[in-house]
Symmetry: C2
Subunit: 497 residues, 2 copies
């Protein structure tokens, strides 16, 4: 008992915390309670016409229609309206029909309910009917209720009209309270979700590049990452939340297009669809961030010394790309156009610089000791590299001397990093291979993975460049949105983009 | 009018087609109609006690509880049960309380409705309460209805009991019809979805590798792909459907764990959760397939001649990996264990072969003419490569002669492929760069991208190897599932895995 009372206390604390961090949730609950209380006053209506026995219809309408966001409330209301009207009309027809049949009346009613139930259930499975699922439910429900009530009182017309009026009252109370008291707009939520997504991808991208350069490694990759479940890792969470948000975006988009102009979204037909497209383009970039993270997760890792060679360039590309993403995010937040100047200029320059560096130093990215003739030349080159100490300047080869010690740079760093000598401790991908093959076999394989480890740096760099290339379509999507949504021109002080 | 009648005809045809391709949908609709018709017979009950005025409760229960799959029906039923019971208990308490207050009765009722509405609306926003959202709705609804009905007749106890009995009748009819007549299980759907996902990824992977080797290119990348929307491209659709299916899997999983043992899933506590994990691991592989497809979409492309060099190895890895995926898929389908032998043996061998080949030919993957000293040696090597004609054998260098013509292999193929000389026609990533910089600037940049184009082949190969590495965790997830779910041992004839 003490345990469960503790749990209850814990739950209460969390529930209180939820309200404090997002007061809109408390406001929503108060609004709902208020709407119900107002509608329930109808119970005590003692007028000329006893309406209280039907008051449940108004209450029912409030319960099903009152949704968190205004767009959702409108959709539900629309569904309820359509469903009720169609059901009312059909009920009228079948009621007349059943009266004609006299003593077979009951059979006709049961058959009509079967037919209505069949068609409504079947059609709501039709793909494009998904958003109207609720409408079909209301339709069947209303039809059945009208038939039951009409059959009892023999006053079909009266039963139908009273109910329609009460449903209208319930819907009216719902809409007035939901729109007039502290409205919660799905459009606002979509807007902030997009802004948040930009920040998340930017953080994740920057984190991946920095983590890669710092040789961040996972002792053991959490199986939650391997199965793409939620996991408490900022790098991973950043891009994962963007990818998982697509369902949420679709839902919010579906609601937002129903909302009237409000707040900062002043035009009718506000281009909400472009928000979804922008998020799609952002996701297209996020996939590359995911692939970059994949390089960190991979069991084949480039040695730290080689990563150092490209450190400045990689970091600059990562930082510039993240800057572009953050800038776009804040532009959306402020609803500003891009302005003159090319937002991608710096990141493209950084990418080109990285590319040139790769170009110059591509010998670092491969394992070349199998090209017998060039082996010695290689060693010379490596020596140059060592002496350079990450400087961009390229010393003339005549200054360098052959230094066999530099060969150690070529051996993959795994033996250094892992005293057990197990190259595959992460993900343990080929354990059977390692235990089967012995002696020379293993050595042969280890040499093979040495070259893979160097290539993984090339992979990282080229994924990063591809990520930069994908920014272009993101910027285009943003420009389309900013045109259609009529974003403001940026302030003049902002010319130094 | 003719137009809309055409549309209607079109709709009818499609609806008919939907039923023909998946008869379960028709059966579901018939079952729903049947359940409604049976419950509606209560309307005509003329017994000792006039039950017909409450018959709408049974109908309402059927309408809200009757869901496509049995698991969903159980969940709805459970929600309805809990919601109704709690509401009934609370209604009893508040009814007694309101009677105590005498003339303030009505105020107490309205306040109680406000409080109930507030708490129920607030708690249903609590994250872990999501699956019980429907229960909260039923709870509010039932509470309000009981208060209204009780207040009218002053017989709170009777109002509550009658309604509970009728709800039980409706729920009973629902369950009996849904379970006994051609049951549709969410577990079956989840099982087939997993099998289908495996096939999709395998096809997509194989398609990507083959497409890359055939130098498939997109004239213009459809903007739907750039914004990750549905698009009619088999390669793209394969992995996209797997990634998008996560929501569907979660829904089905939520239903499946409620279902009793049935069909081939004979144990209680069948490990449905492992299906979701398996899908997560599959998605982890699919991300790599997506990255491979990204190489095809990329505007920087490796020249076809260089791809040819690795053709045999790349193709073998792709084919073996797809084979493993298909094998796992069919094992799940047949509910068979893996058996002895290592399912990954061949694909690992293929990956190692590819790795060795990269190792030998890594000079193809980079642009080395900036390493002045090795230039001549390079040319020799290239010459060797040309003479080899994709043979694995390595001729001794003494046999080769310096052939400057072989340098043409080094120039990137883009000018050959694109007469307009525009390297960036796809995605047009750096158009501003190209138009701004002129003359020498462009040439410098083109040289930069030449090396990028060669590196993109390295990227493709190393992504493919990473994809193979990820198969390991997939196989582990499968083994865990096959143990927990007690899959059968494979037939003896199947030893040659």
């Amino acid at each position: 008992i003490k345990n469960s009372s503790n749990e209850l206390q814990d739950f209460a604390e969390k529930a209180w915390e939820m309200g404090r961090s997002d007061p809109r949730k408390i406001i929503f609950a108060i609004k709902m309670g208020l709407a119900l209380a107002i509608v329930s006053l109808l119970i005590f209506w003692k007028g000329l016409y006893d309406i209280s026995q039907y008051s449940i219809w108004a209450i029912l309408t409030v319960i099903v229609m009152f949704e968190y966001s205004i767009g959702a409330t409108f959709i539900k209301g629309f569904n309820r309206l359509l469903g009720t009207l169609f059901a009312g009309m059909l009920a009228c027809c079948f009621a007349e029909l059943s009266l004609l049949f006299g003593r077979w009346e009951e059979v006709v009613i049961v058959i009509s309910i079967f037919i209505i139930g069949f068609f409504a259930s079947y059609l709501k499975l039709y793909p494009t009917m998904k958003p109207y699922e609720y409408g079909f439910r209301v339709f069947i429900l209303t039809y059945c209720i009208l038939m039951v009530a009409g059959n009892r009182t023999r006053e079909y017309a009266e039963a139908i009209v009273t109910r329609l009026v009460l449903i209208a009252v319930g819907a009216g109370v719902c809409l007035v309270i939901n729109v007039c008291i502290y409205p919660i707009w799905a459009g606002d939520a979509l807007h902030s979700l997009v802004v948040k997504n930009f920040k998340d991808v930017a953080n994740s991208l920057e984190g991946c590049v920095n983590g890669y350069l710092k040789c961040v490694e996972y002792e053991r990759i959490p199986s939650r990452i391997l199965t793409f479940q939620a996991y408490d890792d900022p790098l991973y969470n950043g891009y994962r939340s963007v990818m998982e948000s697509s369902g949420k975006e679709d839902t919010l988009l579906g609601f937002a297009i129903w909302e009237p102009p409000h707040g900062r979204f002043k035009t009718f037909k506000y281009p909400w669809k472009n928000y979804a497209e922008l998020c799609g383009a952002l996701r297209h970039c996020a996939f590359m961030v995911m692939a970059l993270h994949g390089c960190i997760l991979s069991e084949i890792q480039a040695p730290a010394e080689r990563r150092q060679v490209f450190q400045a360039e990689l970091q600059r590309v990562g930082a510039e790309a993240a800057k572009v993403l953050r800038k776009l995010g804040s532009k959306i937040d402020k609803m500003e156009k891009l302005g003159h100047g090319d937002i991608l200029k710096e990141v493209h320059e950084a990418a080109e610089q990285l590319q040139r560096k790769i170009d110059e130093k591509s010998y670092i990215l491969i394992k070349s000791d199998s090209w017998e003739i060039t082996r010695q030349a290689m060693e010379n080159l490596l020596d140059v590299k060592e002496n350079e100490n990450m400087q961009l300047g390229f010393k003339s080869l005549s200054e360098t001397v052959l230094d066999l010690g530099s060969l150690s740079v070529w051996t993959p760093s795994s033996p250094k990093r892992d005293s057990s000598g197990n190259l595959f401790r992460k993900q343990e991908p080929w354990p059977s291979r390692l235990s089967f093959g012995a002696g020379a076999g293993i050595r042969e394989k280890c040499r093979t993975y040495e070259s893979a480890s160097a290539l993984s740096l090339a992979t990282f760099a080229s994924l990063l460049i591809e990520c930069v290339a994908r920014l272009q379509s993101l910027v285009e999507a943003f420009e389309e949105l900013s045109e259609k949504a009529d974003f403001v021109e940026p302030m003049v002080t902002d010319t130094a983009i």
